[in-house]
């Protein structure tokens, strides 16, 4: 039993098979990348794992515990956090509050109607924002941040949930080169320091090869290759259908 086990997962949308009998596992502490062409099913796979949608057949387990019938918030409770491909923040809340909400939920303070929220967890939040280079934007509304900065915020929010396993869907898409580089460093460092297991997708191969310890390639809803980064890079099929001339 690995840390995360996906066993024969299939997801059909109507007649369309988005995920086709996919099985793979991620070891504890691994940094596993899922790559593949657009529409391969990466986001769908993440949605299955994180409980947003239910698999048609198959099962998913975290540390042996079946996730398949759990609600997203229950899955989060047992230690999974995720970011989204399309930015998904609290638009009218400030960047500071966005992270704060994550911490409140994480510390189960949502049931307390008398615990004042103002400034709560201030240092912790600012530290996280600094790490994603949003220190200067902490007081701005998330919805008013530029697209790339919202992606950075997305990352901070996911990290604030203090997960055992982190799912990042194209974490650096839309980020500038500078931010991408620092995000790579941040993700790698935090994941290593805290012993977080990482599962991520990304189309920027620099990011993938910088971070990933193992890679799976998804194509038409099926895993066509899994291995160490250099193995996958050398795989002919991957070259042909995904990387193109490189």
């Amino acid at each position: 039993m690995a840390f995360l086990d996906v066993t024969n997962a299939t997801k059909k949308f109507g007649g369309f098979i988005a995920i086709n009998d996919v099985s793979f596992s991620v070891e504890k502490g691994a940094r596993h990348a899922i790559i593949g062409p657009n529409g391969a099913g990466k986001t769908t796979l993440f949605n299955l794992i994180s409980g947003l949608i239910l698999p048609t057949t198959g099962s998913i387990a975290l540390e042996g515990q079946r996730l398949s019938r759990m609600k997203p918030h229950e899955i989060v409770r047992i230690g999974m956090a995720r970011s989204f491909q399309k930015v998904n923040v609290f638009p009218r809340k400030t960047a500071f509050e966005n992270v704060q909400v994550a911490l409140i939920a994480n510390r189960k303070l949502q049931f307390n109607p008398f615990h004042a929220a103002a400034g709560l967890f201030g240092d912790e939040i600012m530290q996280l924002l600094e790490q994603v280079r949003l220190g200067g934007d902490s007081g701005r509304r998330a919805g008013e941040l530029a697209h790339g900065k919202q992606k950075q915020l997305e990352l901070a929010v996911a990290l604030a949930a203090e997960p055992k396993i982190l799912l990042l869907d194209e974490p650096t898409a839309g980020m500038s080169i500078a931010e991408t580089l620092s995000s790579i460093a941040l993700i790698r460092d935090i994941v290593q320091q805290r012993g977080i297991t990482l599962l991520f997708t990304e189309h920027d191969m620099n990011v993938v090869f910088e971070i990933a310890s193992t890679i799976s390639v998804l194509h038409h809803g099926e895993i066509i290759a899994t291995g160490l980064p250099h193995e996958v890079r050398a795989n002919d099929d991957v070259q042909r259908i995904y990387l193109g001339r490189e």
Partner: protein
């Protein structure tokens, strides 16, 4: 009652004509609701204005078939023109503001319109007769049945098909559906969204007014007529599913049958029947019968 097929037949006809009467009223609401996402409280007021305008036109033309036709069309035209002024002058300023402000706006509109109607036409009751060729009853073989009710049974589907065709089979309809989702983007793609919005609001208002004129021969024209229909219209639109025309049609049928059959079997308790039905439908289908879940992908 089932022992007597003739009575059953009449009650079924009663249900149908009520349903179509309700559908005609709700059609404009569906349209405005569906595209502009505005909960138009003023729909009932538009409906009432339509009936009053038709009344005034009929006073001029005298009681005739042509007069009735002019009354219905005139109600639609006049209400449409007023809606245009209101939309362009006031409502259009609110589209990119806080969404629920539009609710407040239509609420204010109800107050203003109702009082203006009272100032113009007074607080008394009036009546519009059915046009001469639709008076009395016609023999349906099994039993005689009021002509005007039959007329509504025909008008309902005609209006439904016309709107359906427009929405689902024309490019205009596609544009309306796109406008519902992202106004700014559609505008940037070359559609004059302001015009589209005006058009929808005007059409919806005109439909409401014509509904008022068409319903008048079965009801009174008085200052309370709006509040009697508005809630039924909302029930229909909601159980059918937001913005779904087919849904509204089916919703109207359900409410029509429920009201008629309910008043036979449930007697006065029919008062809660429509709400129980609404609760049940929404619990089983949270987006209404024909509504689509606002699914979002991330």
């Amino acid at each position: 009652m089932f022992a007597n097929p003739m009575i059953l037949f009449i009650q079924v006809m009663n249900s149908l004509s009520l349903a179509m009467n309700l559908f005609i009223i709700a059609a404009g609401l569906t349209l405005i609701f569906g595209v502009l996402r505005i909960v138009n409280f003023a729909h009932g007021a538009f409906y009432m204005v339509g009936a009053y305008v038709a009344l005034s036109i009929l006073r001029v033309t005298g009681d005739s078939n042509l007069g009735f036709l002019l009354g219905v069309l005139g109600a639609g035209a006049l209400m449409g023109a007023m809606a245009f002024v209101v939309e362009r002058g006031l409502l259009s300023r609110l589209y990119d503001k806080e969404h629920m402000l539009q609710l407040l706006f239509t609420f204010a509109l109800v107050l203003v319109i109702k009082d203006l109607v009272k100032m113009i036409w007074g607080s008394g009751q009036y009546s519009i007769g059915a046009p001469p060729f639709l008076r009395g009853a016609v023999n349906l073989g099994i039993s005689p049945y009021p002509k005007y009710a039959l007329f509504l049974c025909v008008m309902g589907p005609i209006i439904a098909v016309a709107i359906w065709f427009f929405m689902e089979r024309t490019r205009w309809g596609r544009i309306l559906r796109a406008a519902r989702e992202d106004r700014v983007m559609l505008n940037a793609l070359g559609t004059d969204v302001k015009l589209v919005y005006s058009g929808v609001f005007v059409t919806g208002a005109a439909l409401a007014a014509m509904g008022g004129a068409l319903a008048a021969p079965r009801s009174a024209v008085d200052p309370g007529m709006d509040s009697l229909v508005i809630i039924d219209a909302f029930i229909i639109v909601i159980i059918g599913g937001l913005g779904s025309l087919l849904g509204s049609f089916v919703g109207a049928l359900i409410l029509g049958f429920l009201t008629v059959m309910g008043s036979i079997y449930l007697k006065e308790w029919v008062i809660v029947a429509s709400y129980v039905m609404m609760v049940v439908i929404l619990l089983v289908r949270p987006w209404g019968l024909f509504g689509k879940a606002d699914e979002e992908r991330h």
